[in-house]
């Protein structure tokens, strides 16, 4: 190819698309690469919930900033990605978990958010189909959903309109360096020269950086989901399991929602349902225990859906870090940046990553505090060469 670009962004999921947009808008010449179709890996498999509720205490300021940015994008792109402020319910089915929910509600309210505890009548008013045996629920009315596919498409289109170039089906095979400087990215079609490379490659990130002697603690984790055929409007918002005192979610993790096209999307991973390690290059079928857990949980919470036809399942590998937070910032040689480690919650955080990386490259003030994501927190594993 032999083309020249100042910045190459590797990975066109929601994080890469947002980052390319932020950089192009700051006037940089940007080339965005993806190994396949844009958003076809983690982003395309995401349930794309934009929620501050029961999410991350440490990151609450950043998450609030991110939700505002998403709402601004919705205005700016005039509904192109179907932003819906549908709210989020976290159901509680163990009495011990009520105090945990109250803890989250208190700290979110202190930050100016409007989470609250609901009794059963209030739950039924918001989600009438949720008639399963739960005790109570927490409720966060400002949480939203977006269409994950159209979000990537919209940000990618905006980045291209701002001058970025997108190359699909162009896997980055190697990041090239000269001395202590990044010089480009090698793809099967040739080399793209660059003085700055941003790797937003999700579960592929660590593998791309490993040959450079940079060891990032990012491992792939199997994420799975099931979808029914389209139904009439049944579920209004996001329904999940409330976190429990024991850490994590009592008895597991659940997310259930209805897509705008009507399909019910649902998944439940019960404690002990941790899946075997795998590679994002070879996507297997959904695990059978996962299918049982997800189907029985859906039927328990929404008995009216038990005869609905399942249409589809899917599996992707998300990128997991030891502390469940993204790794964002410079690593290794001069000019190399990373924004990866979605932990299954990359959609909401995409604008945060874009802001941190773009302001770092531009040398401008960052609108959010980047410190929770500092790659150096895993030093000395991230060896500065």
């Amino acid at each position: 190819m032999g083309v020249s670009a100042h910045i190459v962004v590797v990975g066109a999921g929601i994080v890469g698309a947002a980052t390319a947009l932020a950089l192009a808008e700051r006037g940089f010449a940007v080339t965005l690469l993806d190994r396949a179709a844009p958003g076809s890996a983690v982003s395309g498999a995401s349930l794309a919930c934009l929620g501050t509720h029961q999410n991350s205490e440490v990151e609450l300021p950043q998450l609030i900033w991110a939700t505002r940015r998403w709402a601004e994008w919705d205005q700016r792109f005039t509904g192109a990605f179907h932003y819906r402020r549908c709210g989020q319910i976290r159901f509680i089915d163990h009495a011990a978990d009520i105090s945990t929910a109250e803890h989250w509600i208190a700290l979110e309210r202190a930050a100016g958010l409007s989470a609250q505890l609901l009794n059963l009548d209030e739950v039924r008013r918001i989600e009438p189909a949720l008639t399963g045996p739960i005790l109570a629920a927490s409720w966060s009315p400002d949480d939203a959903l977006v269409n994950p596919f159209l979000s990537v498409r919209t940000l990618l289109r905006a980045a291209v309109e701002a001058g970025a170039r997108f190359l699909g089906h162009q896997p980055a095979q190697r990041i090239d360096c000269q001395g202590d400087r990044v010089t480009g990215v090698t793809t099967p079609d040739g080399r793209i020269d660059a003085n700055t490379v941003v790797v937003t490659g999700g579960p592929w990130t660590a593998g791309l950086l490993a040959p450079m002697g940079i060891e990032l603690p990012i491992v792939p984790r199997k994420a799975q989901c099931l979808a029914t055929v389209a139904q009439p409007p049944t579920i209004r918002g996001v329904v999940g399991a409330s976190k429990s005192e024991q850490g994590g979610v009592h008895g597991g993790y659940t997310q259930i929602q209805q897509s705008e096209a009507g399909q019910i999307l649902f998944n439940t991973v019960l404690a002990g349902g941790e899946s075997a390690p795998g590679s994002p290059d070879r996507v297997p079928q959904v695990d059978l225990p996962f299918v049982v857990d997800s189907a029985t949980t859906l039927m328990r919470l929404f008995p009216g859906l038990r005869h609905v036809d399942l249409l589809r399942s899917w599996v992707r590998y998300e990128a997991v870090t030891p502390d469940d937070r993204f790794i964002i910032g410079p690593v290794g040689p001069t000019g190399l940046y990373v924004g990866a480690g979605d932990n299954g919650t990359g959609f909401l955080r995409a604008p945060v990553i874009a802001e941190i990386i773009a302001s770092a490259i531009a040398g401008t003030r960052c609108a959010v505090d980047p410190s929770p994501y500092d790659p150096a927190r895993f030093a000395p594993k991230v060896a500065l060469q």
């Binding site: 498409r153 699909g168 299918v291 029985t296 038990r306 399942l310 399942s313 899917w314």
Partner: protein, 476 residues
């Protein structure tokens, strides 16, 4: 409390599909000493080729039905258990087969599996193809063979391949007025040349030819249906010549009126869903139907140990190769299950395949032409109502492949999961986005292979993952 019953079966060999390949596989495996379960989707076994109507027909059709009936009786007499009306919706490589019959869950844990899941029609979109009265030749054949129902009284039959001749003969026998038979291949010479080399097939060819002789003046070679006309039902069709460069020559196109059925199909697509879910290696060749299962030419062994494939899913070839391949795969599967078996004899299969491949070469659909048929407002994906212009816009913005198009337009996201629309989107993208249709990819099959109620799914998978236990699962 409602309950879903769940049954778990173990056997040496589970055959999926009750057409020629599946029936002969089941028979061969049983004769080799294996316990065999055959799961078939339809009310009666036989598949499309050996379809068994409730009331046996007379005349030309009787011969084929009788041959199928004889085979089915052999299979039953051998001790194979044929389970009809069973929808297989999942497969895992333990191996494990997840199925249902109505609202009852069925789990099969065999030692070996023979996939003989066949194929289905391969339509290509063109303006007007969604009008009532437009259907595939295979669907029309099913109406005639199974129910004695005519798809229409004045019918145009169009597409590519010798299957059109067979359907033309059957429609005529059923009393349809076949107004035109529109074949994209330039002339009958290629068919004649293919036949010339295989005298063994002359009697069968002669029977079919004889039946369509009165229709010969109505045959149009080197032509294609470019549009179906009609308000609420198809009433007409435009038939145009295909130029040397594959473009449609609008000049001199025939505008046919006064019809009530238009049957269009461009070959068949292998039903590779279960094989895909099992992780069997696939290859791609449009002339073989698209994605097909890579299988050993004799044993039918796929890339996954214990999983064998026979018939159309290994590449479209017709019933004779399927019968031979089924026998080989049945023997090999019984061998895998621990039965002492002779090596399958691939001689008959090779002979049958040679002829099938010659026919395949003689009838190659004009993929480039098909890709040019849709207009901007033509629906490419019927389930999600996605138009050609939307697919083109997604390609222009970098969607890149079938998965990208699906995400950005929802094409292929509906109940058919790309089985019906995948071919059309792919050949369209081959023109609109200059993508190579073979690498454009397809909507990969995932659980469930067919829609299944959540409670039946839970009962089946619950039964599959549980140790030996109760047969009834409460679900609500």
């Amino acid at each position: 409390m409602t309950t879903v019953s769940a049954e778990r079966i173990t056997c040496d060999v589970c055959v999926v599909g009750g057409g020629p390949a599946g029936l002969s596989a089941a028979l061969a495996a049983r004769r080799a000493g294996a316990s065999v379960e055959l799961l078939d989707l339809f009310e009666r076994p036989g598949g499309q080729y050996f379809m068994q109507p409730a009331h046996p027909p007379t005349g030309a059709a009787a011969r084929q039905v009788a041959e199928g009936r004889a085979l089915i009786e052999h299979v039953l007499a051998s001790g194979v258990l044929i389970r009809s009306g069973v929808e297989v919706f999942g497969a895992y490589d333990e191996p494990l087969i997840l199925a249902r019959r109505g609202d009852a869950a069925l789990v099969v844990k065999p030692r070996a599996v023979v996939l003989a899941t066949g194929a289905h029609d391969r339509p290509a979109p063109f303006p007007g193809w969604t009008l009532p009265g437009v259907m595939t030749p295979g669907a029309a054949q099913r109406l005639v063979k199974l129910h004695g129902t005519r798809p229409g009284s004045r019918v145009v039959l169009a597409g590519c391949g010798p299957f059109l001749l067979v359907v033309a003969a059957q429609l005529r026998a059923a009393g349809c007025d076949v107004v035109r038979v529109v074949e994209t291949s330039p002339s009958p010479l290629a068919l004649a040349a293919a036949l010339a080399r295989f005298p063994r097939h002359w009697p069968e060819a002669a029977r079919i030819m004889l039946a369509v002789v009165p229709l010969l003046p109505r045959f149009r070679f080197g032509r294609i249906v470019t549009r179906a006309a009609g308000e609420t039902h198809v009433t007409g069709a435009i038939i145009a010549r295909i130029g040397r460069d594959g473009r449609v020559l609008t000049e001199g196109a025939e505008e046919l009126d006064g019809i009530d059925a238009l049957l269009v199909g461009y070959g068949f697509r292998p039903s590779v869903e279960l094989a895909t879910m099992l992780g069997c290696a696939l290859a791609h060749d449009w002339d073989a139907g698209g994605a097909y299962v890579v299988a050993d030419r004799v044993s039918g062994a796929t890339s996954v140990p214990g999983i064998f494939a026979a018939g159309e899913i290994t590449g479209i070839a017709g019933a004779r190769p399927a019968l031979a391949a089924g026998e080989c795969a049945g023997i090999a599967a019984a061998g895998f299950a621990g039965k002492a078996t002779p090596s399958p004899d691939g001689g008959r299969l090779k002979q049958a395949m040679d002829f099938a491949l010659a026919l395949r070469r003689a009838f190659r659909p004009p993929y480039g032409t098909l890709g040019r048929l849709p207009q901007d407002d033509t629906l490419l994906c019927r389930c999600e109502e996605v138009r050609a212009s939307e697919v083109r816009a997604a390609l222009d913005e970098g969607a890149g492949d079938a998965h990208g198009v699906k995400m950005w337009t929802r094409a292929g996201m509906g109940p058919c999961q790309g089985r019906i629309c995948g071919f059309g989107i792919s050949v369209y993208a081959g023109c609109a986005g200059s993508a190579d249709p073979a690498v454009f990819g397809a909507n990969a099959a995932r659980l469930p292979a067919r829609p299944v109620p959540v409670d039946v799914l839970a009962a089946a998978v619950g039964m599959a993952t549980r140790e030996e236990g109760a047969q009834i699962i409460p679900t609500g």
